[in-house]
Subunit: 167 residues, 2 copies
DNA sequence: TGACATTAGTTAGCCAGCTAACAATTTAAT
DNA sequence: ATTAAATTGTTAGCTGGCTAACTAATGTCA
């Protein structure tokens, strides 16, 4: 999905600093690494999901449905929680419904709306996917100490709070 | 570009842990945050670039050309450094050339190949973009201490080394 | 030298996001 | 009560990645 495999070396940074003195080298280095790692993790995730016939988008939708105890949610709520547009959710649900992992049910309260629920096959698909997914995640971070994991999570949360309202 | 706006709460994690005991909560929490932050930063970056008529993909290509002192590179090398397929590079260059930011020049050594160079307008475009970009990056991380920035960069580099060969 | 493999760039067509515009319905305001 | 505004899901069409297949040129090795 993204961006610049060859991160700048310190020589490259110096060259750019000469041209553009606003450059803050450590912060830009971190910025690029965050983009790079996010991109790499995404690629790994989608590669894991492909054999199950899913993309990360459709997989997340299944998970959001599984989160609900009722297992019934309205598409616009799903779109909000997932962070995609309603139109995108329509596509995701079309495909998931075609694959019989999800079912649309007419809603009695609101004539505009629809409710979506996980089918038995959908739950089964999650049961196939999740254990391997969790083991994969554990494996990706096996080299990193637990305290480091937690510190980093905190910093990222702080960063996310700062980011809110910008995008 | 990606993924799950509503990260799981600790209740959600507990529910999933009950269903899927392989779940390592701290590592999964970090995994999701890295994806989330990468996605948010990407969105912010593309929003910054849009008024200049660029996407991050085309912008990176310009930067890679600017990195070269000769300012002349072959498309396949660009594709490798950027981490996209040659076919994608063809698209990027088509659009950049249409916008006169880049020029393709026939290569004498190798009849199959082409060389790409930044035009004056391309350099000028970078000069418009980069100072604001660097100030933006500085702003995004203003709340985070310098030592934290450096520690995090190191951890991400360690992580990236571990990721190599997986994707 | 000649056959075969490899490499460079392109083309064509897929996919999953996006925005904009729409009809149907519900909600709010006077 | 009626009109105006907002919301729901969908459709249509754009974008920027991707893979697969192609042509042209170059390298390799019997």
């Amino acid at each position: 999905m993204f961006l610049l495999k060859d991160l700048p070396t310190s020589e490259t940074f110096k060259k750019f600093k000469a041209d553009y003195p606003d450059l803050d080298i450590p912060r830009t280095a971190l910025f690029l690494r965050l983009l790079r790692v996010g991109s790499d993790l995404m690629t790994i995730l989608d590669a894991y999901l492909r054999p199950f016939g899913l993309t990360h988008g459709r997989w997340i939708t299944l998970i959001l449905l599984h989160r609900e105890d009722t297992h019934r949610v309205v598409p616009s709520v799903l779109a909000n929680k997932q962070g995609v547009k309603r139109a995108t959710m329509t596509n995701l649900l079309d495909r998931l419904e075609r694959d019989a992992l999800v079912r649309r049910v007419a809603c009695n309260q609101d004539g505009r709306s629809v409710q979506v629920e996980l089918t038995k096959a959908g739950k089964q698909k999650l049961d196939e996917i999740m254990p391997g997914y969790y083991r994969m995640v554990k494996g990706l971070f096996r080299e990193i100490e637990s305290t480091t994991i937690k510190e980093m999570t905190q910093v990222l949360d702080e960063l996310r709070r700062g980011l809110k309202g910008i995008e």
